[in-house]
Symmetry: C2
């Protein structure tokens, strides 16, 4: 797929305000990613306006204004656009047609509606990547349950059935081990015309990820390749850099860069990959935004993914993605149960030298909800891992105290 | 001076809210120091309430609420105290009697009114330090102009005449080279009973500073000794660590630690020192708050002065003050003239690798006003210095474009 000039899919930004006014950044979504983007923008003297469906989200207190409303409604996006210089996203679940309406009204939106359209539908995403010659698991659209059995003839069992849209943290995926699993998975995922596709199962030895930030003019920076470890399909920890052979790291980085090119991303993109036993690297999924696998960059890199995303969408030069220490480990802090959004044990975790806990400020904890994260740098991965696990283990979200 | 138990000068904090509510931090003052404190607090999920005299100050958009009013008015401090768990200061120009009223109403205030009373009056400050046996230039109170001539008999010329209160960035100081300068300096500084004191002139070879953060229980951490370079009496740049012999650095650090003990500081304190040609280190002045000489710690240290101040006043364990790189240089970005608070040349400065510009978001620039700062890390001080000077030189605040 030949790259299009960015301007062909995204109209020129509105005439800029006088050069003595800092740009204002519009954020669709007000969760923890928006909060950390707002912090980066505020360092540059920029203000932030958030569009969210509910009040009191993590980014709310940092925003000049929080507009309440459904972000799929173009009228709400236009209200946001009218208050800001550039609009960007903290999630990819915004209707690309609504983003296109914002662009057509002359507002700057990065990433573009075209990129979001390609990425938010995983079947279109896979087709775009396959068209660009990138390595990925075999996949095929399924219109009815019989198509799954047909795919199994090519791909073998197990198979992974996936929703094309709105899946995250394992939600919207089902692993099928035999024909007996088809009917229940089809029902569970709400199968129907154009809703699902099927992918071959990848017997990976590690899950890798890399953050790429690409600017408006096509320039890009690549963060180190990291290994992500999932628990119950949710990112549990991230090890930076991934302990793989240099040639694998280099190949993965090149694949990630081409992936980001192929969907003409502007801003930060997380590229999740599978590493197979023979050293093969396959693209798993894309996140067209700052990503959990890049939270470690706040403390561990010269310029964080959040700062670089802000730089990219504002059209400013990108920053240095290099590590400041030989190793870093990030552990997600998930809700252990329902309760308040304030943790037990924060002071104890702060007593672990070099521990960097982040508390998102969500009003409520739920089992498995991302409530915060914690990063530790180290001279080696095992050292950082041990400290990070220890410190994170002292923090608990949810009303029952640590036993 | 024997150390007092902190509780004797500052009543026990209010009964804490349930452990599932994050503490809210009250900030007296809403400038750039309050902004950077708010950013640190928000990382922990804490909210911030600001008391300021004018709206739209740098910290305003980060605060849950900004209360408008004179911070010397105890009624305004009590309004702030009622909304927060702990109150702290971004400047020392708050009437210590008003802070004491807040303490007596049962609110937690750190640093305590007693510490602020001792430090905000430079004559009391010097007397406290002298009483603790710390090395400092000779000084004496002056009640009338004739006292200055008398002091010169002891100290020689030149002499430095200083206001006891509310001086900063060289404002409130005058250097007198002969008896002919006495009358005009006395008039300029508003001489009168109890207003001024005089100090011997120190022929320093370098100005040094160190940030110490001391916790409620008396534990403390010391950041690296830095060299500060002033232009027109305003901090122009900071080199970390200071290029001095290890024994000088060690002695300066010990002097700073004892200084902070002697005034029973809780929170971050900047200790400014003179280095004389023979290696003598003398205490110059104290800032009982986060300080311009510690801004480099945001990027250069494991835990910044802002995060450590928040930890200290909330009663949490202190973080690691170690440098992440061999060297760091911070350059202040001062207004070059009147105009908007948004700089020209920010994008150009961002193109300098490893440049970390901070724009405070002040509404207006004035000549010499602190509008932002810029930090660069390096493998050596000269490398960091060159890059920082280059990047900072690309940024200009004030309406006339860079010539």
């Amino acid at each position: 797929m030949p790259p299009l000039a960015a301007s062909s899919t995204n109209p020129a930004p509105k005439p800029p305000r006088p050069p003595t006014t800092s740009p204002t950044l519009g954020l669709v979504g007000g969760g923890q990613l928006a909060k950390m983007l707002a912090q980066a923008a505020q360092q540059f003297g920029c203000e932030v306006v958030v569009l969210e469906r509910t009040p009191n989200t993590p980014a709310a207190h940092l925003a000049r204004t929080t507009l309440l409303g459904d972000w799929d409604d173009p009228a709400n996006l236009l209200k946001l656009g009218a208050q800001v210089d550039v609009t960007t996203l903290e999630n990819e679940f915004v209707a690309s047609e609504s983003l296109a309406a914002l662009e057509h009204a002359g507002h700057a939106v990065w990433p573009s509606s075209r990129t979001i359209r390609l990425v938010q539908d995983k079947l279109l995403q896979k087709e775009a990547l396959a068209g660009a010659g990138l390595p990925l698991p075999r996949f095929v659209a399924v219109a009815e349950p019989a198509d799954i059995a047909a795919a199994a003839l090519n791909f073998g069992w197990p198979l992974v059935l996936k929703k094309r849209r709105n899946g995250y943290d394992g939600k919207g995926n089902a692993t099928l081990r035999s024909p007996a699993d088809i009917a229940s998975a089809w029902a569970e995922l709400g199968g129907g015309a154009g809703a699902l596709y099927v992918e071959e199962f990848c017997p990976f030895v590690a899950e890798l990820a890399i953050m790429i930030v690409r600017g408006r003019a096509g320039e890009s920076v690549a963060y180190p390749l990291v290994e992500t470890v999932q628990q119950n399909h949710i990112c549990h920890l991230v090890k930076a850099p991934a302990a793989v052979a240099p040639d694998i790291a280099q190949r993965a980085s090149e694949i990630a860069r081409l992936t980001v090119e192929s969907v003409e991303m502007v801003g930060a993109m997380g590229v999740e990959m599978f590493l197979l036993a023979d050293g093969t690297v396959l693209v798993n999924e894309l996140a067209p935004r700052v990503h959990n696998s890049g939270h470690y960059t706040i403390e561990a890199c010269v310029c964080s993914q959040f700062e670089n995303h802000v730089r990219a969408v504002l059209g400013w030069p990108l920053g240095d993605p290099s590590l400041l220490a030989p190793a870093a480990v990030m552990v997600n802090l998930l809700g252990a149960g329902p309760g308040s959004g304030t943790p037990h044990g924060l002071a104890q975790a702060l007593a672990v030298p070099g521990s960097h806990p982040h508390v998102y400020g969500k009003a409520h904890s739920q089992t498995g909800r991302k409530m915060g994260h914690l990063t530790v740098l180290g001279q080696t991965l095992p050292e950082a891992l041990e400290k990070a696990r220890h410190a994170a283990g002292l923090i608990r979200f949810g009303d029952s105290p640590i036993s």
